[in-house]
Each structure stands twice: as structure tokens, then as C-alpha cells.
């Protein structure tokens, strides 16, 4: 990962981001912001400032191990001296140690009790970053809406609240599509999307899943050296297994994040964000991560079960919004709901564009 990915282009910050960045460190803060609003980078920069101004007594906690690995790449680049923890490790291995400053990213994925544990572990101030719309553990655990965290405190002791409204990661052409997929989203407002990227997403039909993976292999070889930050995201663990087998068949080095629910020892979770290998994982595992190019092969219809349907739809929304440049949606047969209602002028349907010679 490049250094720039973990630093701030201050000249491009909006007023809301500036307020978070320039706020003094002497009060606890709750920062809520949409996907791509720069929360994770601001969390790391908060740690960098604390280290420089107040010393090393701080800790950063995130929910998943993949996000922890990802943010650790930023930790090294920014010269942060403290280790980062994913929640399970912090809770069970570290036994919830205390620190002067506690920084938690993706706070929307934690329960009230877990959030209370973070607060108890804070000697001086905490800084929580999150977005209720990105909570995809609904039904799996009793997560707490970000705004509800204020209610854990008496009025005079409430943390300072900041809200980030603008999305800097997601290109507008992708956002236009994602709004047809997401659930419980704020009203779509193009002005809130600040990325200057203009690439039109591609929805490409292939005859089979094998052909989809073959196409990914072909594109990766064709753009060797150009595509160095790639996510290949799939709906389920089984799809991850199949895609990986096919990528091997086509001679593509890649890294897999795989959870084996029957035997956790067989799980693979060694993603290295310093290599240029494509990363292959489920939509759920990709939460909090971002890639320059995202391939979504194996797009199929959602479940008929209403609850399951909502959960799958939310997960696809997360997957669609992981890109900060190029998006390839790949399917066989007919385009399933809800992608089939996306107006066709919002995407292209072939891998290449034909131009006349000059």
C-alpha cells in the first residue's frame, strides 16, 4: 500500500472532515460517517497525533481480523508504535487492557456491552468511528446504532459528536448503481460523492462461472502492473473455494481469506496488503476494506426468504461499494434482481471499448 493511502490530502478535505482532524484531543469523540468518508484514515491519524502529542498510551481496536491486517499496513506507514487488535483478540487474549486513549473503528458492529467495555478500558478519552448503515451483522448479534452510544452517558458527559456526510472513496458512477441495491439508505444525493473517478462500471455476461474467472485472469494478465490493488469478492465461502481453484488453473497468484465453519483450523486469513496479489474473499469479509478494482463474479439471485434476502442485499451493497475506481459485475444467465432494474445507461457491457485510429 502506498503511503498516500494513509495520509490526508488536506487541501481536498471538507469542513466536516477538517473539524474531526483539527479537533483538540482533550474530549472523547463519536464520529459517524457514511462508507468512504475517510473514517479509518482519520482514526489512524488520531492515533498518530496522540502518539506525538501525548505519548504511547493508546490502543486501536477493530472488529474483524481482515480489517486489522489492513489497518496494520497503515500503522507501519504512519510510524505508529502500538499494535492494533481485532476485537476477539483484545477481549479474549489481551483481557481488555486499559489505556489512556482508546480508538475503535467500525463501532456499529459492537453490542452495547462491548461498547461499555471499551469505555471502561479508557483512562482519559475514547474516539469511536462508525456507520450504522454499514452494520451487516443484523440478526447475528445485537449491535448498537452509532447515535445510540450517546445515551450511555449523562447529558453533561456526552462525547463530542461529528458527522461526515460526504463519500470520497466511491466513484459516482458506482454510487448511482449501488443505490438500487442498498437498503435503509439515506436519500441519494449525487453532490455527496466527491471522488473524481469517472470509470463506468461494467456488467458483463459470460456463459459460466468458469468463464467469469477466466475473464478475470485474462484482464489481470492484460493489465499486469496496472491492476495492483484488486479484490475478487464472492457471495459465499464455497464460491471463494471454487474461484480460487479456477484462478490456480489459469495461473493467477492470489490470496484467499476463507472461513471454514466446520473446522476453524482450516480457515485461511493471511492476507498481505503489501503484495499486488488479488485478494479473494466473501462480501462479508471485505467489509471496511477498499480496492482499486473490484471484480464481483458469481452474481446470482437472492434468497426468497425475506430476512435472508435483506441480509444478502446488504452484503452485495457492501461488495459494490468496496471499489474506488473500477467495478466489474459478472454473471451468467440473466441479470438477477435488483441489478436488473439498474438503468442500462449506468453501465457498459463489454470488456473493451472500440476507438478509431487518429
Amino acid at each position: 500500500m502506498a503511503k498516500k493511502d494513509w495520509m490526508i490530502i488536506e487541501s481536498e478535505l471538507d469542513e466536516d472532515q477538517l473539524k474531526v482532524l483539527m479537533a483538540t484531543n482533550d474530549k472523547s469523540c463519536l464520529v459517524s460517517g457514511c462508507a468512504g468518508s475517510g473514517k479509518s484514515v482519520l482514526a489512524l491519524i488520531k492515533a498518530q497525533r496522540i502518539q506525538k502529542e501525548k505519548g504511547n498510551n493508546y490502543q486501536i481496536i477493530v472488529f474483524t481480523k481482515a480489517l486489522c491486517n489492513y489497518m496494520n499496513a497503515g500503522r507501519k506507514i504512519l510510524g505508529l508504535q502500538r499494535d492494533f487488535y481485532h476485537h476477539w483478540y483484545w477481549q479474549n487474549r489481551m483481557r481488555k487492557p486499559k489505556a489512556d486513549y482508546v480508538i475503535v473503528d467500525e463501532i456499529q458492529d459492537f453490542t452495547r456491552e462491548e461498547i461499555q467495555e471499551f469505555i471502561n478500558a479508557t483512562n482519559k478519552n475514547f474516539f469511536f468511528f462508525g456507520d450504522t448503515a454499514q452494520s451487516i451483522y443484523q440478526g447475528l448479534k445485537e449491535t448498537m446504532p452509532v447515535k445510540g452510544i450517546n445515551r450511555l452517558f449523562p447529558i453533561d458527559k456526552e462525547p463530542k459528536n461529528f458527522t461526515l456526510y460526504r463519500n470520497y472513496r466511491l466513484p459516482l458512477p458506482v454510487a448511482r448503481i449501488a443505490q438500487y441495491v442498498g437498503i435503509d439508505l439515506e436519500a441519494f444525493d449525487e453532490k455527496t460523492y466527491k471522488s473524481k473517478e469517472t470509470a463506468i462500471p461494467k456488467f458483463i455476461r459470460y456463459n459460466s462461472f468458469d468463464e467469469q474467472i477466466n475473464a478475470i485472469a485474462r484482464i489481470l494478465k492484460l493489465k499486469q502492473g496496472i491492476l495492483s490493488d484488486v479484490g475478487i469478492l464472492l457471495p459465499h465461502n464455497n464460491d471463494v473455494r471454487n474461484a480460487s481453484t479456477l484462478l490456480n488453473k489459469y495461473g493467477i497468484n492470489h490470496e484467499v481469506k476463507y472461513e471454514d465453519k466446520e473446522d476453524w483450523r482450516s480457515g485461511i486469513n493471511t492476507l498481505d496488503f503489501n503484495t499486488s496479489n488479488p485478494k479473494v474473499m466473501t462480501y462479508h469479509s471485505a467489509k471496511g476494506l477498499q480496492f482499486e478494482t473490484v471484480f464481483l463474479p458469481g452474481i446470482v439471485s437472492f434468497s426468497d426468504d425475506a430476512n435472508q434476502n435483506i441480509s444478502e442485499r446488504k452484503a452485495l451493497y457492501v461488495a459494490l461499494t468496496r471499489t474506488y475506481r473500477d467495478l466489474y459485475v459478472m454473471y451468467s444467465g440473466t441479470l438477477p434482481v435488483p441489478l436488473n432494474i439498474v438503468p442500462s445507461n449506468l453501465y457498459t457491457i463489454s470488456e473493451t471499448e472500440i476507438v478509431k485510429d487518429i
Binding site: 498516500k4 473524481k196 492484460l222 502492473g225 496496472i226 497468484n253 473493451t352 487518429i358
Partner: protein, 663 residues
């Protein structure tokens, strides 16, 4: 040279150090590069002009939940700039400036009034990728605490300059692009590398990718293809015996047979890399320890090769004049390696296409249009300037293939021509300088001057990231100073204000050498060559002179000259010496380390430093028994008090101190 002071907020600190300039507020809003905002304060409230004061005073910022602290810019202005200032009516000490003031580390200081304000501003600059100059201005970012008077607030802003200076905005835009080009070109030269090192680096990177892929594979096994590829790649890192043998035996099977005979005969080959063993080590590592030994090994190898590349960096001497900014703001290329045809085409791209307002910032957002535009320009240059048929020319084939590649097709270009390789790499990967570097290395390109010069002109200087400019700023300090002055001269048509120790350059140095050893006169040409190659009178130059066998009729340089050079190594702004804060009571570091003052005080060296520390602490301590109630902290009063300490014991220092503090 008169000093002026610009009060502002520390919220503008990063802005100032990203563009190395201060502009009227309205410029930021309309010039479409760098920061779009500027925080006004009551002491500097105008939109169309900057307010300058000719007195050093203090001021405050209101209590805030944001890191908004007072920041004062002190700048010595050249007569030509000074003449453009206008006095604010009814205010004797206040001036207005309706254009950008370009700062430089020789004539500028950034003053904070408390240590804590300085720490916070520097801390906030750490995360800002565009704040490039903290390192360069390090000694000019100072804390001055003892200022008695405050600036008057401008209560009635009716005297504001009414019109916006649009010509100056256009000039700023031009300077920003040209400065980006110059920095890019010189940094590109530093990043360039030999083919041998690049091939090795690519192999090491590919090994890392394969090892990590094997480790993250579902069945935790290397595929046959991965095993074979690793064997090929690791061959480059086998001990020298392998390369010596392969130079003799080109046929692979025969080579393998010979190696296997040696292995059998001696049981092993020292330092041989066994790929199967590496894979087994990789897969059998205890995961919970997070140990990645073979991966760590290859990462170390990558760092080692990168280090070799960086140590063998070629620094362009400014005297070579490879790129010149002409008076009409056009860039002229004097690159020997380019054919006249390529030079002409490249200059047309740089001066007529890449500078367009539409081409700024992220290349990925306009790469298709840019690839069209450079092709159209090439056609125009071929047909109008060069009188060469466009259809069927190599330029037509390469550039149209590039246009198709940008739109998803294959690109079979050979990467063997400097200008096409540079523009292709820029268009494909020019968003990020590190990615561009890896891409060019992946294509086995070795010369990155043009690609980064184009990257610089597209981004403009203000937007260049700090880790990119650090490639230059981490070089030897004399070299940085030479390059900095060269850029300044090319962009502004005048020299920066030089400190006394930095004046003179080579001619002065040679005159001193000749005064020590008259015979050195005949070696002047050689001395000059070494001076240019080393980038000035630095350690590299001293080492080069010491080791040069051509000097002194082949006997090597005389000891007296060696001794002189070691002592004379230029003390520059960029050396780690303390600069005066301008305030006696804030200057312990400067005063206790200053060579001249230490010479004056050498008889009582320890005692006077102890007394100085005691005196400053007592004066700063409101409960002091000795200086309680002493309200006057101006330099003159305080110096007199110090001189009188212990019965005028420090009288010898009076002249130096009054000269230093101008009182």
C-alpha cells in the same frame, strides 16, 4: 532587505508549506490548485491582499475546540518585491500586498509563541501528504515567547484593495506547473536505476507475491507452476558459482547435471537456495506466531536491492542544464539521449498539452482524453514541424495502440523509447508516484526523468506528495541547496538570498585551495568536475578529492588541502546548526552552540553556559528573587542585564550579542 511579518492562524501552516507561498485569500478560491481555503484572522482580514507589518509583535487566537493557534511568518523581502507593497492608509507600520509571496528557507521564519503550539502544528503536518517542507524549514520554525507588544487590529477594512490581481493568479498557476516539472525531473533522475538492479528487484517482488499466495492458498500447497516459477526466479539469488557456471554452460539440462554432480560430490553447495525447502519452511511455520520467515527473507532482499538502487542514485548537476524554463515559461529539453525528433515531440506535449487546465490531478480521470490529445499533437508535430508522414510512422502505431490499451485492449509496445515509454507509463499509472515507479520497473525501464517530469507538471508542485519530494530532500544538504537555488533562479529570474557562508560556491573554494597550495591551480578543471559531481563542498566532495589519483600530478592531493577541505565543509542552512530565534530569552540553544560566541567565551566556556541557562530561567520565572517584576524583556534590556551579571564578566560578548539581536 527589510523584514516584514504576516500574522495568521496555525490552521494555514500546512497550506503554506505545501505551496511554499502565501497568497491573498481570494487566490486560493479561484486558482484551482492546492488548497481552496485560507483562514482569515482579524490581524489579516482582507480577501484581495495580504497584510504585512514591519514590526515583530505578538497576537492571540481566541480559545477554541480546534487547534487554531497564532502563527507569524517573518520574511525578508527583496527590493523588487518590497516596491510592490502599498501602505495601508492611516497605518504607518501596515502594508498590503496584492500578489503571492513566495517564501524560501533563507529569508523566512515561521514563528510560534509557545512550544505547545509548535508541537501541535508539526503533529498535524505529519498526516498531511502535501506538506512537503517541514524538514527543509526545520530550523526556521521557531518559538519566540518574549514579545511585549501586540499587533493593532484593523478595525476598518474600508481600505482593502478593491480588485483581484488576475494576472498574478495566472502567473501562480504557471509557476506551480513549472515547479512541479523541475522537481519531477530531478527526482526522476534520482529514482532511475540500472537494468541489472531492476531485473533483480522485479524477480524478488515476484517471489514475494508467489510465497504470499502459497501461504494464503486454500490447500496450503504450491501449484506446479508456482514451484517452477520460483526455481527460475530464485536462480538470480543463487551464490556466484551458479552465475559463473551458467556463463560457461548455456544449455539448461547440462547446467543442472553439472550442479547435481557438484552437490553429490561435496554433499552440498554453500549458500545454495533450495526452493523446495523454502516452500516447506513457509507452510510449516507456526501460524499463531505470525512468523513469515521466507517472506521476511525476501522482503529483506527487496529492501537491500532498493537500498543499492538508492545508494547508486545519479544526481544531476544543475550545471548540466538538462531542462530549462525559458522566459516565455516554455520548457526546453537538453537531453543528450533524445533524438531531435523526440525532443521536439516531447516539448510539444509538455508545453502545449500537459499544461492545459483540464489536465491536472488524477490522470485516471482523463487518461482516455489525454491519450487522444497527445496522439493528435504528435500527428500535428509530425506533419507540420517535422514534415514526416504520420500514417504508418512508429509514433502513429504506438500512440494509437496506447489509446486502445487505455480502453481495455492489449498493448504490445516494446518499451524501448524514452518518450513513448514515459508517456505510456504516465497515462497508465500516473496517479501515484510509487505505483508509477513499480510499473516502470516492471517494464524494465531504467530512466525515469521524463516520466516524473510529466507527472510533476500534471500534478503541479502544490499537489506533489511529501514522500515524493523527500526523495530529493533526503539527499546531501549542499546538493539540495544547489538544486533549490537553481529552481528558484529558473522560476523567478533571481537568486535566493544567500547566507554569508553559502556565498561564493566553487570559485571562492578554489581560490582558498590555491592560496594554500599554488600548484593546485593546474588541477582546477578536475576539482570543478568533482565539485559538480558531488553537488558542492560536501563530504562526498572531500572523499572524492582524497581518493582522486589524477590530482597533484597523479600523486594524490596534499595533506594540507585535505585538512582545509575537512574544516571548510560548507555550513549551510540545511546543516544541523541552531538558528537564532531573534529573541535572547528564547535562544539558549543558539547561544550555547554558536561557534563565534563560543570562541569569544572559550576561556570561561563552562561557566558562561551555566550562567546563561540560570539567567534565562530566572528571567522566565515569575517568582524569581532576582528578576521579579522586571517587565522589560526586549533584547537590549535583557542583554545589558546579562552583561552586567557577575561584575561585567561577559562584556566581551556584548558586541556579538548586540549585532546578533540588532539592538
Amino acid at each position: 532587505m527589510k523584514k516584514y511579518y504576516i500574522p495568521t492562524s496555525s490552521l494555514n501552516f500546512n497550506n503554506i508549506l505545501s505551496s511554499e507561498s502565501i497568497s491573498p485569500k481570494v487566490f486560493y478560491q479561484v486558482r484551482s490548485f492546492g488548497y481552496g481555503r485560507w483562514v482569515s484572522i482579524p490581524e489579516n482580514p482582507f480577501d484581495n491582499s495580504i497584510v504585512l507589518y514591519d514590526e515583530l509583535c505578538s497576537f492571540r487566537r481566541p480559545q477554541s475546540s480546534f487547534e487554531d493557534h497564532p502563527l507569524l511568518i517573518e520574511i525578508s523581502l527583496d527590493k523588487s518585491v518590497e516596491s510592490t507593497l502599498s501602505r495601508l492608509p492611516e497605518h504607518e507600520h501596515i502594508f498590503l500586498c496584492n500578489h503571492t509571496i513566495y517564501i524560501d528557507p533563507w529569508s523566512t521564519r515561521l514563528i510560534f509563541f509557545t512550544d505547545s503550539d509548535k508541537i501541535k502544528a508539526l503533529s498535524l503536518s505529519d498526516s498531511s501528504i502535501e506538506t512537503k517542507f517541514v524538514k527543509l524549514y526545520e530550523q526556521k520554525i521557531v518559538v519566540v515567547k518574549h514579545l511585549a507588544s501586540s499587533y493593532v487590529r484593523i478595525e476598518n477594512p474600508k481600505n482593502e484593495i478593491q480588485s483581484v490581481n488576475n494576472d498574478e493568479i495566472e502567473k501562480d498557476k504557471r509557476i506551480n506547473r513549472l515547479k512541479g516539472f523541475l522537481y519531477g525531473y530531478y527526482i526522476g533522475a534520482i529514482l532511475s536505476a540500472s537494468k541489472k538492479d531492476i531485473v533483480k528487484l522485479n524477480k524478488a517482488r515476484e517471489i514475494r507475491n508467489i510465497l504470499v499466495a502459497i501461504l494464503s492458498s486454500l490447500d496450503r500447497r504450491a501449484t506446479l507452476q508456482q514451484q517452477e516459477r520460483l526455481k527460475d526466479l530464485y536462480a538470480a539469488f543463487q551464490p556466484p558459482l551458479f552465475s559463473k557456471l551458467s556463463a560457461i554452460i548455456s544449455e539448461k539440462r547440462m547446467f543442472d547435471d553439472v550442479i547435481s554432480v557438484i552437490r553429490k560430490e561435496y554433499g552440498y553447495i554453500p549458500d545454495e537456495i533450495d526452493v523446495n525447502k523454502i516452500i516447506s519452511q513457509l507452510l510449516n511455520m507456526p501460524m499463531h506466531l505470525g512468523a513469515k520467515n521466507p517472506i521476511e527473507d525476501i522482503n529483506a532482499k527487496i529492501r537491500q536491492i532498493e537500498d543499492t538502487i538508492s545508494k547508486s542514485a545519479h544526481l544531476i548537476s544543475v550545471n548540466e542544464e538538462q531542462v530549462i524554463v525559458c522566459e516565455d515559461s516554455r520548457i526546453k529539453l537538453n537531453i543528450e539521449e533524445l533524438s531531435d525528433k523526440d525532443k521536439k515531440l516531447c516539448m510539444a506535449w509538455v508545453n502545449e498539452v500537459l499544461v492545459k487546465d483540464g489536465y491536472t490531478g488524477k490522470i485516471s480521470t482523463f487518461k482516455d482524453v489525454l491519450s487522444d490529445d497527445i496522439t493528435i499533437k504528435a500527428k500535428e508535430v509530425y506533419e507540420s514541424d517535422l514534415n514526416i508522414k504520420w500514417k504508418g510512422s512508429s509514433s502513429e502505431l504506438i500512440l494509437n495502440a496506447l489509446r486502445r490499451h487505455v480502453r481495455g485492449s492489449e498493448y504490445s509496445y516494446m518499451w524501448n523509447n524514452a518518450i513513448y515509454s514515459s508517456i505510456s507509463a504516465l497515462i497508465m499509472c500516473g496517479d501515484d508516484w510509487q505505483k508509477l515507479l513499480e510499473y516502470m520497473q516492471g517494464k524494465e525501464m531504467t530512466d525515469y526523468r521524463l516520466a516524473y517530469a510529466m507527472y510533476g507538471i500534471i500534478n503541479g508542485f502544490a499537489n506533489l506528495p511529501r514522500d515524493f519530494t523527500d526523495v530529493l530532500f533526503s539527499q546531501e544538504k549542499t546538493y539540495i541547496a544547489e538544486v533549490y537555488r537553481e529552481f528558484y533562479g529558473q522560476l523567478f529570474g533571481r537568486d535566493v538570498v544567500r547566507s554569508k557562508s553559502e556565498l561564493g560556491g566553487f570559485d571562492d573554494l578554489m581560490a582558498k585551495i590555491v592560496s594554500i597550495c599554488r600548484g593546485a591551480q593546474r588541477d582546477e578543471v578536475r576539482y570543478k568536475e568533482l565539485y559538480i559531481q558531488s553537488g558542492g563542498s560536501n563530504q562526498k566532495f572531500i572523499d572524492a578529492v582524497k581518493n582522486d589519483r589524477l590530482l597533484n600530478k597523479g600523486k594524490g592531493v596534499q595533506k594540507t588541502i585535505k585538512d582545509f577541505l575537512s574544516k571548510n565543509k560548507s555550513a549551510s542552512l540545511f546543516d544541523e546548526t541552531y538558528q537564532s530565534t531573534g529573541q535572547f530569552l528564547d535562544d539558549f540553544n543558539f547561544l550555547s552552540n554558536n561557534v563565534e560566541l563560543n570562541d569569544i567565551m572559550k576561556q570561561i566556556a563552562k561557566e558562561w553556559k551555566g550562567d546563561l541557562e540560570w539567567f534565562i530561567n530566572e528571567y522566565n520565572n515569575p517568582d524569581s528573587t532576582y528578576y521579579k517584576g522586571k517587565k522589560l524583556t526586549d533584547n537590549y534590556t535583557v542583554i545589558q542585564k546579562f552583561i552586567q551579571l557577575k561584575g561585567n564578566k561577559y562584556k566581551d560578548a556584548e558586541h556579538f550579542l548586540r549585532k546578533t539581536y540588532n539592538c
